[in-house]
Protein backbone atom coordinates (compact mmCIF):
# COMPACT_ATOMS: atom_id res chain seq x y z
CA UNK A 1 0.00 0.00 0.00
CA UNK A 2 2.78 2.36 0.97
CA UNK A 3 4.71 1.35 -2.12
CA UNK A 4 1.68 2.09 -4.26
CA UNK A 5 1.42 5.56 -2.77
CA UNK A 6 5.07 6.22 -3.41
CA UNK A 7 4.79 4.97 -6.96
CA UNK A 8 1.69 7.03 -7.55
CA UNK A 9 3.24 10.24 -6.31
CA UNK A 10 6.35 9.51 -8.32
CA UNK A 11 4.17 9.10 -11.41
CA UNK A 12 2.31 12.28 -10.65
CA UNK A 13 5.54 14.23 -10.36
CA UNK A 14 6.78 12.77 -13.63
CA UNK A 15 3.55 13.63 -15.39
CA UNK A 16 3.71 17.17 -14.04
CA UNK A 17 7.33 17.53 -15.08
CA UNK A 18 6.50 16.28 -18.58
CA UNK A 19 3.71 18.84 -18.89
CA UNK A 20 5.81 21.66 -17.54
CA UNK A 21 8.67 20.75 -19.89
CA UNK A 22 6.53 21.61 -22.90
CA UNK A 23 5.65 25.22 -22.30
CA UNK A 24 4.02 27.71 -24.61
CA UNK A 25 6.44 29.81 -26.60
CA UNK A 26 6.48 33.33 -27.97
CA UNK A 27 4.72 33.74 -31.33
CA UNK A 28 6.59 36.85 -32.51
CA UNK A 29 10.01 35.41 -31.69
CA UNK A 30 8.90 32.18 -33.32
CA UNK A 31 8.04 33.94 -36.56
CA UNK A 32 11.56 35.31 -36.83
CA UNK A 33 13.15 31.99 -35.97
CA UNK A 34 10.89 30.08 -38.37
CA UNK A 35 12.22 31.85 -41.48
CA UNK A 36 14.27 28.81 -42.49
CA UNK A 37 11.19 26.60 -42.29
CA UNK A 38 9.28 28.65 -44.84
CA UNK A 39 11.04 27.27 -47.93
CA UNK A 40 9.43 23.88 -47.44
CA UNK A 41 6.55 24.44 -45.01
CA UNK A 42 5.40 27.77 -46.48
CA UNK A 43 5.45 31.19 -44.79
CA UNK A 44 1.81 30.62 -43.91
CA UNK A 45 2.56 27.10 -42.67
CA UNK A 46 0.60 25.47 -45.48
CA UNK A 47 3.22 23.54 -47.39
CA UNK A 48 2.42 23.39 -51.09
CA UNK A 49 4.66 20.42 -51.89
CA UNK A 50 2.63 17.43 -50.67
CA UNK A 51 5.66 15.65 -49.21
CA UNK A 52 6.00 18.28 -46.49
CA UNK A 53 3.46 18.47 -43.69
CA UNK A 54 1.21 21.44 -43.19
CA UNK A 55 1.98 23.04 -39.85
CA UNK A 56 -0.49 25.91 -39.72
CA UNK A 57 -2.98 25.30 -36.95
CA UNK A 58 -1.33 22.07 -35.84
CA UNK A 59 -1.27 21.60 -32.07
CA UNK A 60 1.53 23.57 -30.41
CA UNK A 61 2.67 20.69 -28.21
CA UNK A 62 2.60 18.20 -31.08
CA UNK A 63 4.96 20.38 -33.12
CA UNK A 64 7.25 20.65 -30.09
CA UNK A 65 7.13 16.89 -29.64
CA UNK A 66 8.03 16.30 -33.30
CA UNK A 67 10.95 18.74 -33.16
CA UNK A 68 12.31 17.14 -29.99
CA UNK A 69 12.01 13.70 -31.60
CA UNK A 70 13.96 14.90 -34.64
CA UNK A 71 16.55 16.41 -32.35
CA UNK A 72 17.18 13.31 -30.24
CA UNK A 73 16.94 10.95 -33.20
CA UNK A 74 13.73 9.16 -32.24
CA UNK A 75 12.37 10.48 -35.48
CA UNK A 76 14.74 10.24 -38.37
CA UNK A 77 14.77 12.69 -41.24
CA UNK A 78 17.99 14.00 -42.72
CA UNK A 79 16.63 17.46 -43.54
CA UNK A 80 14.87 18.03 -40.23
CA UNK A 81 17.78 16.67 -38.24
CA UNK A 82 20.01 19.39 -39.68
CA UNK A 83 17.62 22.22 -38.97
CA UNK A 84 16.61 21.13 -35.51
CA UNK A 85 20.23 20.87 -34.41
CA UNK A 86 20.36 24.68 -34.47
CA UNK A 87 17.27 25.10 -32.28
CA UNK A 88 17.34 25.51 -28.50
CA UNK A 89 14.44 24.33 -26.37
CA UNK A 90 13.24 27.93 -26.26
CA UNK A 91 13.47 28.16 -30.07
CA UNK A 92 11.37 25.01 -30.39
CA UNK A 93 8.71 26.46 -28.12
CA UNK A 94 8.67 29.72 -30.06
CA UNK A 95 8.56 28.13 -33.52
CA UNK A 96 5.76 25.79 -32.41
CA UNK A 97 3.85 28.74 -30.95
CA UNK A 98 4.12 30.56 -34.28
CA UNK A 99 2.95 27.75 -36.57
CA UNK A 100 0.18 26.61 -34.26
CA UNK A 101 -1.17 30.17 -34.13
CA UNK A 102 -1.67 30.37 -37.90
CA UNK A 103 -5.06 29.73 -39.51
CA UNK A 104 -4.77 26.42 -41.29
CA UNK A 105 -6.38 23.73 -43.36
CA UNK A 106 -5.91 21.06 -40.71
CA UNK A 107 -8.58 19.65 -38.49
CA UNK A 108 -9.49 16.63 -36.44
CA UNK A 109 -11.49 13.80 -37.96
CA UNK A 110 -14.54 14.94 -36.04
CA UNK A 111 -17.42 14.92 -38.51
CA UNK A 112 -15.43 13.21 -41.25
CA UNK A 113 -16.04 9.53 -40.71
CA UNK A 114 -18.52 7.14 -42.24
CA UNK A 115 -21.83 7.54 -40.49
CA UNK A 116 -21.31 11.16 -39.47
CA UNK A 117 -23.66 12.06 -42.27
CA UNK A 118 -21.61 14.88 -43.72
CA UNK A 119 -21.38 13.14 -47.09
CA UNK A 120 -18.17 11.89 -48.65
CA UNK A 121 -16.02 14.71 -49.92
Amino acid sequence: MKRATILLSFGAVLAFAATAALAEGNIENGKAKAATCFACHGADGNAVDPQYPRLAGQYNLYIQQALHEYKDGRRNNAIMKGFVATLSDQDIEDVAAYFSSLPGKLGTLHGHIQGDGDGAK
Binding site: A15, D49, R54, Y62, G104, K105, H110, I113, A120
Partner: protein
Amino acid sequence: MTRLQLLGLTAAAALFAAGAHAEGDKAAGRKLVYTCNGCHGVVGYENAYPRYPVPKIAGQNEQYLLNALHEYQSGERTHPTMGAQAQSLSDKDIADIAAYLSSLAK
Protein backbone atom coordinates in the same frame (compact mmCIF):
# COMPACT_ATOMS: atom_id res chain seq x y z
CA MET B 1 19.35 13.79 -81.38
CA THR B 2 19.80 10.50 -79.60
CA ARG B 3 20.27 12.40 -76.42
CA LEU B 4 17.03 14.25 -77.04
CA GLN B 5 15.17 11.01 -77.61
CA LEU B 6 16.63 9.62 -74.44
CA LEU B 7 15.42 12.70 -72.61
CA GLY B 8 11.95 12.16 -74.03
CA LEU B 9 12.00 8.55 -72.95
CA THR B 10 13.08 9.54 -69.46
CA ALA B 11 10.29 12.09 -69.27
CA ALA B 12 7.77 9.50 -70.43
CA ALA B 13 9.06 7.03 -67.87
CA ALA B 14 8.78 9.65 -65.14
CA LEU B 15 5.21 10.41 -66.18
CA PHE B 16 4.38 6.73 -66.19
CA ALA B 17 5.88 6.31 -62.74
CA ALA B 18 3.80 9.22 -61.49
CA GLY B 19 0.71 7.61 -62.99
CA ALA B 20 1.60 4.23 -61.57
CA HIS B 21 1.75 5.80 -58.12
CA ALA B 22 -1.85 4.78 -57.52
CA GLU B 23 -4.31 7.44 -56.61
CA GLY B 24 -6.05 6.46 -53.43
CA ASP B 25 -9.76 5.84 -53.30
CA LYS B 26 -11.30 8.52 -51.08
CA ALA B 27 -14.55 6.65 -50.48
CA ALA B 28 -12.63 3.59 -49.29
CA GLY B 29 -10.41 5.85 -47.19
CA ARG B 30 -13.43 7.36 -45.53
CA LYS B 31 -14.43 3.92 -44.25
CA LEU B 32 -10.91 3.06 -43.13
CA VAL B 33 -10.44 6.16 -40.98
CA TYR B 34 -13.17 4.96 -38.64
CA THR B 35 -10.44 3.49 -36.46
CA CYS B 36 -8.33 6.66 -36.56
CA ASN B 37 -11.28 8.63 -35.27
CA GLY B 38 -10.91 7.11 -31.80
CA CYS B 39 -7.93 9.38 -31.16
CA HIS B 40 -7.63 11.77 -34.11
CA GLY B 41 -11.31 12.64 -34.02
CA VAL B 42 -11.34 13.96 -30.49
CA VAL B 43 -10.37 17.61 -30.21
CA GLY B 44 -7.33 17.96 -27.98
CA TYR B 45 -7.10 14.21 -27.30
CA GLU B 46 -3.75 13.49 -25.69
CA ASN B 47 -1.13 10.83 -26.10
CA ALA B 48 -0.64 9.20 -22.69
CA TYR B 49 3.08 9.53 -22.13
CA PRO B 50 4.69 11.79 -22.96
CA ARG B 51 1.62 13.97 -22.94
CA TYR B 52 0.95 15.87 -26.11
CA PRO B 53 -2.13 16.17 -28.30
CA VAL B 54 -2.42 13.65 -31.13
CA PRO B 55 -1.93 15.58 -34.36
CA LYS B 56 -4.64 17.00 -36.55
CA ILE B 57 -4.53 14.84 -39.67
CA ALA B 58 -7.60 15.93 -41.63
CA GLY B 59 -6.33 18.17 -44.43
CA GLN B 60 -2.70 17.08 -44.08
CA ASN B 61 -0.68 16.74 -47.26
CA GLU B 62 -1.04 13.42 -49.08
CA GLN B 63 2.57 12.38 -49.63
CA TYR B 64 3.45 13.24 -46.05
CA LEU B 65 0.65 10.98 -44.82
CA LEU B 66 1.78 8.17 -47.14
CA ASN B 67 5.32 8.48 -45.86
CA ALA B 68 4.26 8.63 -42.22
CA LEU B 69 2.12 5.48 -42.41
CA HIS B 70 4.76 3.54 -44.33
CA GLU B 71 7.40 4.64 -41.83
CA TYR B 72 5.24 3.50 -38.92
CA GLN B 73 4.74 0.21 -40.72
CA SER B 74 8.43 -0.37 -41.32
CA GLY B 75 9.36 0.76 -37.83
CA GLU B 76 11.42 3.66 -39.10
CA ARG B 77 9.06 5.93 -37.21
CA THR B 78 8.11 4.64 -33.82
CA HIS B 79 4.95 5.04 -31.83
CA PRO B 80 3.35 2.07 -30.05
CA THR B 81 -0.21 2.72 -31.18
CA MET B 82 0.60 3.94 -34.66
CA GLY B 83 3.03 1.10 -35.25
CA ALA B 84 0.34 -1.43 -34.41
CA GLN B 85 -2.29 0.34 -36.48
CA ALA B 86 -0.06 0.61 -39.53
CA GLN B 87 0.67 -3.12 -39.38
CA SER B 88 -2.94 -3.84 -40.20
CA LEU B 89 -2.93 -1.67 -43.32
CA SER B 90 -2.15 -2.72 -46.88
CA ASP B 91 -0.40 -0.36 -49.29
CA LYS B 92 -3.77 0.28 -50.89
CA ASP B 93 -5.35 1.06 -47.52
CA ILE B 94 -2.59 3.59 -46.84
CA ALA B 95 -3.10 5.20 -50.25
CA ASP B 96 -6.85 5.36 -49.68
CA ILE B 97 -6.48 6.89 -46.22
CA ALA B 98 -3.98 9.49 -47.45
CA ALA B 99 -6.24 10.39 -50.39
CA TYR B 100 -9.24 10.87 -48.13
CA LEU B 101 -7.51 12.76 -45.33
CA SER B 102 -5.71 15.14 -47.68
CA SER B 103 -9.01 15.89 -49.43
CA LEU B 104 -10.41 17.27 -46.17
CA ALA B 105 -8.29 20.46 -46.26
CA LYS B 106 -10.41 23.32 -44.98
